[in-house]
């Protein structure tokens, strides 16, 4: 073996000086990581303004999603709304209809929580079969951040809202799509946050700066961005986003509505089509993410043979409720082909279903809420491909 010149030769960076402290007052990732970015699939939507892109979950580790690469979904584009111009109205069945400024919100007691936000359509393309080859595209409509915000119940109390459990809380955004959704009072009083920070800093424009709603464990469409109005109503508004969209058509043509909770789900992020095994046989780490809108992830099993045999993975950390949990299978690859799968369980005892189980229940046209077990075929070269198995 010849000596490694990376070691034996004096390298530029070991000799000359690096960048000064103020070269990038707000940093971006180093240029070598420039492929770790959100990506869209052009043909999915009519216009990039009303569209979605995908988090590069194949290349991320741990559980927190950096805001800069967390997926975006807009219905009429991301808007620039200054804090000074921000107003939040509470009206409807309240004793005192109120208007809050951004400053007002920062004066109320606040909480911090890590939660995942998953689009109801995540993995939706896979209902009819294995479509796009990449976990970024099959599972990337998800991010996981630490939110800082005021509990919605605090604002409801401030306005003297009618909080009887047959009432609804209609929430609406300030952008041109005016996305509005109805939330049952029980959830509104439980864990919903009116959030103004994520991962310690202000929300990004694309995630609803300056204020968005956080609806833990429930589909992303309810997490209204640029939140401008909260109305207490005696029935669901049944807006466009809760009737014509975000409803699940089953095989008989009947649609399920108010399917808010995101059930337990997991996926192996590496190896995966964008993260092939490049080191050959030997020790390796199979890494992935698991989450449940019902609560905590308690266990993840991994199969290398398409579901014949399962091994229980190691959780990176005891799962937070309604947040991403990292799992690892520290294992040895013998160089033979594999059919990799992961299967999550949550603290309600729910076990992530196979595609077959889901299709038996719902057919192939539901679009939303596909939490099936995903399979990657890993070939002898270590390349991985999105497949379906018997």
């Amino acid at each position: 073996q010849t000596p490694d010149p990376a070691i034996t030769e004096l390298q530029d960076w070991a000799s000359y000086l690096g960048a000064g402290v103020d070269e990038t007052p707000y940093g971006l990732p180093i240029s070598f990581e420039s492929d770790v970015i959100r990506r869209n699939v052009e043909w999915l939507t009519a216009s990039p303004i009303s569209s979605i892109n995908f988090t590069p979950i194949h290349a991320l580790e741990g559980t927190i999603t950096p805001q800069g690469c967390a997926f975006e979904r807009h219905h009429s584009g991301a808007i620039e709304l200054h804090k000074d111009d921000y107003r939040l109205m509470i009206n409807g069945l309240v004793e005192r209809p109120l208007v809050f400024t951004y400053e007002d919100l920062e004066r109320l007691p606040r909480e911090n929580h890590v939660y995942f936000c998953e689009c109801a359509a995540n993995t939706g393309m896979e209902w009819a079969g294995a479509q796009l080859n990449g976990v970024q595209f099959t599972h990337g409509m998800i991010h996981n951040m630490e939110y800082t915000g005021v509990p919605l119940r605090t604002l409801l109390k401030e306005a003297g809202a009618d909080i009887s459990l047959d009432k609804w809380v209609y929430v609406e955004g300030a952008d041109a799509s005016s996305n509005g959704r109805s939330i049952p009072m029980e959830k509104a009083l439980d864990d919903v946050l009116v959030a103004f920070k994520a991962n310690g800093e202000a929300l990004r424009m694309e995630h609803g700066y300056p204020v968005r709603l956080v609806v833990p464990g429930w589909e992303g469409n309810l997490w209204v961005k640029w939140l401008r109005r909260i109305e207490i109503t005696d029935r669901a508004v049944e807006s466009r986003e809760e009737t014509s969209k975000y409803t699940d058509v089953y095989e008989d043509g009947v649609a399920r509505k108010w399917t808010w909770v995101m059930d337990a789900k997991s996926v192996i992020t590496s190896p995966s089509p964008q993260m092939p095994i490049t080191h050959g046989a030997g020790p390796m780490v199979i890494s992935g993410l698991a989450w449940s809108g019902h609560g905590q992830i308690t266990r993840v099993d991994v199969s290398k043979d398409g579901g014949i045999t399962w091994e229980t993975a190691r959780l990176g950390k005891q799962g937070d409720t309604k947040a991403l949990t990292r799992f690892y299978l520290d294992t040895e690859w013998d160089g033979a082909p594999m059919l990799l799968q992961a299967r999550a369980m949550d603290d309600t005892g729910y076990v992530q279903p196979t595609k077959e189980q889901l299709r038996e229940q719902r057919g192939e046209n539901a679009v939303y809420h596909n939490n099936c077990i995903q399979t990657w075929y890993v070939d002898v070269e270590g390349k991985a491909e999105n497949v379906e198995v018997s």
Partner: protein
């Protein structure tokens, strides 16, 4: 072995401590307090403000303003405001939503979910158009225009005749085709009960085969986005799996030859691009210089003089810098830093300017010298 044992002991202790901590931690996060009365934060909303923002319409028609619109007017407004995306007959253009037709397709393989075939409430149509449409000019329609557009959409779905007039008065009478097509989320009964079981770990199936491969391969170009390319691979030649592993181990496919792309990359590059590239390279090379030399706005002398305006300047002429004798002499002789002089100096400073204090050993590559000179040229006096 002692080391291993010590590590093992340490791990056991860590695990024991963790378990002890976990059993003691009750509630990790305390919820934010709720005041018994109120915080008196926020001000009362005025009725004009509520009227401006609270415009949503409920399924029973509450929230509708006074107004009306007929099918003919609707057709005109629709052609003007909506047809670019939704088509003259609400049939949808490109990927934009189809608004008409699709009746009785909901149980088909590809259901067509339109206002006519799918939407359960007419209120939703009015509410959505009023608040969110037209795309890119939301909130600009009058109430009458909105009534007219809704009337036209109903007509395009064959749900009303061409003399139909929609208003807040007859709105609640209208029943949508799919009003009974929705049931409440029943996953708890149909799925959760059955799926909350201890999962199988061994011999869960006898044999597993790949039944479908990815329809698209996805390229992820450096400039962003993605390109989907049809996957021509079939399931032929893939092994089936049993409890003993794959039925056979396929031969590794021969790695494809390195793409001819390397050639293509050397395509013609414009002069401006080359120039920009050179300056960019120079910026990187200059990292070797900046311990002593500053450039740009506010550049000051350090161990070396600042280098703003260096290209074309008389040697040894920066105010306030204490030069070595050799540069003082160069100043007296009126020598100038032209490209050639700079390149020679940069190559081997100590031989070009014998006696210079500059400790730098030099840039061996002519391309590096050139790049730095181009970079420096971008900084004037």
């Amino acid at each position: 072995n002692e080391v291993v044992q010590a590590l093992q002991d340490r791990l056991t202790t860590v695990e024991a401590n963790l378990a002890a901590a976990a059993s003691q931690i009750g509630s990790v996060a305390e919820p934010a307090p709720l005041k018994a009365d109120t915080y008196q934060i926020g001000r009362l909303a005025l009725s004009e403000e509520i009227a401006a923002w609270d415009v949503d319409v409920l399924p029973d028609g509450r929230g509708l303003p006074v107004g009306s619109g007929d099918v003919f007017t609707g057709e005109e407004v629709f052609a003007d405001q909506c047809a670019a995306c939704h088509g003259d007959f609400a049939e949808g253009v490109d990927n934009w939503p189809v608004l008409a037709g699709g009746f009785d397709t909901l149980a088909d393989e590809d259901p067509i979910k339109t206002v006519g075939s799918y939407w359960p409430h007419l209120s939703t149509v009015w509410d959505y158009i009023n608040r969110s449409m037209p795309f890119g000019a939301a909130g600009t329609l009058t109430a009458d225009e909105t009534y007219a557009i809704v009337a036209y959409i109903l007509y395009s779905n064959d749900m009303v005749d061409d003399d139909f007039v929609l208003s807040q008065e007859n709105f609640a009478d209208f029943e949508m085709h799919n009003k009974d097509g929705f049931v409440l989320d029943d996953r708890a009964e149909t799925e959760y009960a059955a799926w909350r079981t201890e999962p199988c770990m061994k011999n869960c199936k006898e044999e597993v085969e790949v039944t479908m491969r990815s329809v698209f391969l996805v390229e992820t170009p450096p400039e962003g986005g993605s390109n989907s390319v049809m996957n021509s691979a079939t399931i032929d030649g893939l092994p089936s799996f049993s409890a003993t592993g794959p039925a056979f181990i396929p031969a590794a496919t021969v790695a494809p030859k390195a793409p001819a792309a390397t050639k293509a990359i050397v395509e013609e590059v414009s002069a401006e691009d080359q120039e920009a590239q050179l300056i960019d390279d120079g910026k990187k090379v200059f990292k070797k210089c900046r311990a002593c030399h500053e450039v740009g706005e506010g550049a000051k002398n350090g161990s070396g003089p600042h280098l703003n305006g260096i290209v074309g300047r008389t040697m040894g002429s920066v105010d306030g810098f204490k030069y070595s004798k050799v540069f003082a002499a160069a100043l007296d002789d009126g020598l100038v830093w032209d490209d050639e002089a700079l390149a020679s100096f940069l190559e081997k400073p100590k031989s070009y300017m014998k006696g210079t204090k500059m400790a730098f050993s030099g840039l061996k590559k002519a391309s590096d010298q050139q790049a730095v000179i181009e970079y420096l040229r971008t900084f004037g006096e």
